[in-house]
Symmetry: D2
Subunit: 360 residues, 4 copies
Amino acid sequence: MGSSFGRLFRIATWGESHGGGLGVTIDGCPPGLPLTEADLQAELDRRRPGQSVLTTPRDEPDTCEILSGTFEGRTLGTPIAVLVRNKDARPAAYAEFSRIYRPSHADYTYQAKYDFRTWQGGGRASARETIGRVAAGAVARKVLAEAFGVEVIAWVDRVADVDAKVDPAAVTRAAVEATAVRCPDEAAAARMVERIEAARNAGDSLGGVVRCVGRGVPPGWGDPVFDKLDADLAKALMSLPACKGVEIGSGFEGTRLTGSQHNDAFFMEDGRVRTRTNRSGGIQGGISNGEDILVAAAFKPTATIAKPQETVNEAGEAVTLKAKGRHDPCVLPRAVPIVEAMVAVVLCDHHLRQRGQCGV
Amino acid sequence: MGSSFGRLFRIATWGESHGGGLGVTIDGCPPGLPLTEADLQAELDRRRPGQSVLTTPRDEPDTCEILSGTFEGRTLGTPIAVLVRNKDARPAAYAEFSRIYRPSHADYTYQAKYDFRTWQGGGRASARETIGRVAAGAVARKVLAEAFGVEVIAWVDRVADVDAKVDPAAVTRAAVEATAVRCPDEAAAARMVERIEAARNAGDSLGGVVRCVGRGVPPGWGDPVFDKLDADLAKALMSLPACKGVEIGSGFEGTRLTGSQHNDAFFMEDGRVRTRTNRSGGIQGGISNGEDILVAAAFKPTATIAKPQETVNEAGEAVTLKAKGRHDPCVLPRAVPIVEAMVAVVLCDHHLRQRGQCGV
Amino acid sequence: MGSSFGRLFRIATWGESHGGGLGVTIDGCPPGLPLTEADLQAELDRRRPGQSVLTTPRDEPDTCEILSGTFEGRTLGTPIAVLVRNKDARPAAYAEFSRIYRPSHADYTYQAKYDFRTWQGGGRASARETIGRVAAGAVARKVLAEAFGVEVIAWVDRVADVDAKVDPAAVTRAAVEATAVRCPDEAAAARMVERIEAARNAGDSLGGVVRCVGRGVPPGWGDPVFDKLDADLAKALMSLPACKGVEIGSGFEGTRLTGSQHNDAFFMEDGRVRTRTNRSGGIQGGISNGEDILVAAAFKPTATIAKPQETVNEAGEAVTLKAKGRHDPCVLPRAVPIVEAMVAVVLCDHHLRQRGQCGV
Amino acid sequence: MGSSFGRLFRIATWGESHGGGLGVTIDGCPPGLPLTEADLQAELDRRRPGQSVLTTPRDEPDTCEILSGTFEGRTLGTPIAVLVRNKDARPAAYAEFSRIYRPSHADYTYQAKYDFRTWQGGGRASARETIGRVAAGAVARKVLAEAFGVEVIAWVDRVADVDAKVDPAAVTRAAVEATAVRCPDEAAAARMVERIEAARNAGDSLGGVVRCVGRGVPPGWGDPVFDKLDADLAKALMSLPACKGVEIGSGFEGTRLTGSQHNDAFFMEDGRVRTRTNRSGGIQGGISNGEDILVAAAFKPTATIAKPQETVNEAGEAVTLKAKGRHDPCVLPRAVPIVEAMVAVVLCDHHLRQRGQCGV
């Protein structure tokens, strides 16, 4: 269990890295939404491997098929099932370390939990699972855009210690897509690329931070006290492979301020309640306040590295692992569309929830 | 909606700051567990206001009553309902700014969402809501202790920029409780107290970081891919009032390392798979690996401050707010039992889930 | 687990027959609804024991208290907690057969499931648990009435083999309440009362059928394929104590017709699609069609009887049981408000769900 | 929403009658269970159309593919995705009445709910949706057989007014499968076949009752008070296309007895608590008692008939419908494996739930 997310806009992913394929079912998408495979493919292409020198050489077209839930190019309101076949699976590449627990991977914990696992490319723990999330996010994004003109944009904000300078209020998707590393600050992007290539050449890997803004979200989304908008965003992002931290608005740094420095003063603008600063990240008491939603997610350095590592195998013997397989030296660039997808899914779910519970 | 949490160990809180009372229902507690009100009261006393000079002067005994779910001192397996009456509610204190949106509080967002709200002490958005969480956490902790000897200990790790030095593997609850600020590093604790008192005297407030360790958790808890143990912990903590960030293991700082620095090497110890470091925070692929569970939560400075603030009222007029009400100049010390409660609830839920789904 | 029901209008009951009390939490009630304890009490009074010669002599005022979720007489949109204290609990009356499994009661199964139980009056399995359902139903009914003028009316349609003749389209609550047995067909009601009194005098008990109509439900409520409106109604009713069967529309008898006899022909009336007959019971494909919702529930004869019965005790010894305790010789009259409550809860949940998922 | 069922053994179906295909995802199947496509295909073959003269001539092999969740012939504990492609879809056959609301079908209600629908063969409301249920039921059955030797057997107990005489304690699947109508009483079966063929020749259709027994279920399954075993069974069965009634144990007829006649006396047998009769249908207080689980489901006569019918179209005009399409003159024979599937799914879910919540 654990493979579904959302209450009214509910997504459920399935699939392993080297099995027959991967996919998602979206239950709760409103009817009448124009939707074709091209809508999903555009996002899947941003996520797919092999798209740049920074990513794994595994060559997967990740072509999707919508199996249900649409008719004559529009959604029916019934579950939308999406299928992506695995094409370039090479399980044999994993055979030699099939009994070895790769450090900071999920091999050992899957074995401990299920007492049985596929050793092929991480199985269900592979980041290929996020294919379904990205497809679902594309649908969520369309719903949000139709209903409120909401747009969700993420970018790589830091790789290792290379920081970018990005204005969340102004950043565009075009600027994000303009660099291979998906950092809209070109100078920082160039340094990030250098660092990633150096890490790869050293048989090593890097981590960093993705930030994301949701613009156009109206006030009122989010359900206190457990399904607060920020709580659901935190769960959605922390459920991503390699994520080790989540922030809303001012995050950890904001805790160094005093209350008088940190509070967001209200004022009126064009008849609308606004805040002069946005340390709240667009969410107060778990409910959106109409300002930009601001979140950040920390991704650890890729666990798969070429350098030899000490570890143990299923028999409990000490062994040295020299990974082969194909992998990204830094997951950040491909994490961008995945973060956007999860943020969009959360927002869409709360959009529908709010419609359900608004006044008598 | 949104007031319940957990799948098999499901808690549901109710109540407003100044209404008839607050409470929780716990559905799914295993039968036969010794449980009396004293078990809950011990934790509620750690959370309650008025316990030290650092906390709000609101004087609430927060005495609990178990209304159902136990018989002759043991749990029945049926829902455990817990009630705490409000005693020292002084709604009149809020009357004068009943139409004013307090900055960085939830007044405006509740009004925007529900088109109706109680202006008495924040209503449902008050941190008094966490009474139910703490009561539920006391039950979860007993289940975990009985089943696995699991213990969950949190502490104040930072206030503003005053850092503590604490060893998660060794910290004891006694050491935490030894200081009013619940920081087991006594020197740091003294500086924290100074800083909090200074902030209060200045009519201001402070934030900081609470860290928490779960010791004794066996491998195998957590349900990929959305209900990963870390994802559920992130949601649980981010749903707390004033929380703006969550980390698991190495968190944001870990993203500055390379993979070869960051990976946790496996080795065998006493026939058990262990890791030499614990940057994973005891969770890999969303599943516990048997090492200590390590989490952190960032709490912003208290939104209620005595300093005058610019804001607007319900009529859309600019006004100056000078808060009265009673409040904590720093929520961190009282957040400690609350963080422990939520971590325990998540662990208990996944303990039961794992029992349900283990091998055929 | 298992003590909550509904997705957007979610109710959760708690409490045992002879514990501190019973109650319900309603999470998801829309904000702004006028609601006071009097609204709930009117329905609780219809359910409470001791209201007529046909019911148990246990004297419980079942006075309710709303502990949260309202402010100045209107709902806040936050959880509504309702508490009813047990007053006339006489656990000692059960002490002598505390180790005996009463036939067709839940004593044995609770023991088998939980390995521990309260022997006082059935504990959680007592029909007193339905207090919370009735309180929640009163809230649901108010939401439905405000939003659509929906009314939900149930009546006793059969006791043993005494059938009533009732027109679902015309029946009024006043007519139902006019007889002690809650059967609006006065002649049948008189025979039913006779039969129930005869059964009681014989130390025996009777069962029967309650029917219920929901009028004013608009087309479009119900969520295929598992949460069909009829499926949720079936679950809601079958979850009632003593219920052994549920029908929608033509039910079991309808299966004796041919398709050409059974089909409900569509026609237009005042610009609205109508059906000439209503064998569908107002639900087609799991979705309301705008006609009256028609359901029926079969209730077995009360398991508690005065006649001696052969059974076994916890030690596995054969024993003869001569029940004391206080009980209803026929649960049907008091089942009427309970059936109405569950039907209203299901309709209200689907009303909110439909709001959430209607067009983009 | 509404396309998933179960809490720990959660199934989610997708697909329309004439779209790209249909399927199911099973989340929560325990790991290590031997499972191949042949296990599912055996059940799908019992459900598929064209298997006898009594069923629709639509020729669908309904060949399934397991896309995920297994490895080397055993389950992984991760979601099992199953796909069945539509082959013999002939949407054109429906084109001529694409704007007509077929009586007692879901055309009108889907239009009313979603404001958009596929007119091809009922879309999501088609009984083809049950393909996913049957595949999931095959998995549930394997889990139950491995864990407890539970077997689930259903049969056609009545067609129109032709009753069968079947002993639930002794009936075998071989006897059920021995007749085209899936009635193990051969004489009754012969009369049922005659009646069905006569109905078809008359352009009409028939309904009836399917009964089902679950043997080998241990005491303790079912979660009071809303997720009682009988309540979940009622929902599962009432969610099936054409189902209008559900009974547990003595059902509606049992309500004609007195309590002393109806109660199931307990006795000891081989150290085990047994009941002398089984009017409870193996469930008391919502929890299994170790006796056979007995349920019945009423299926209305097929809505699609060849006889002309009065109805209206989307424009609100009165029209006469003469259906073409392909359909079953009586759904009962094919309902047998579907009922078994749903009963197995409910039992399997509660098996896992009980494991999760048993003693501390």
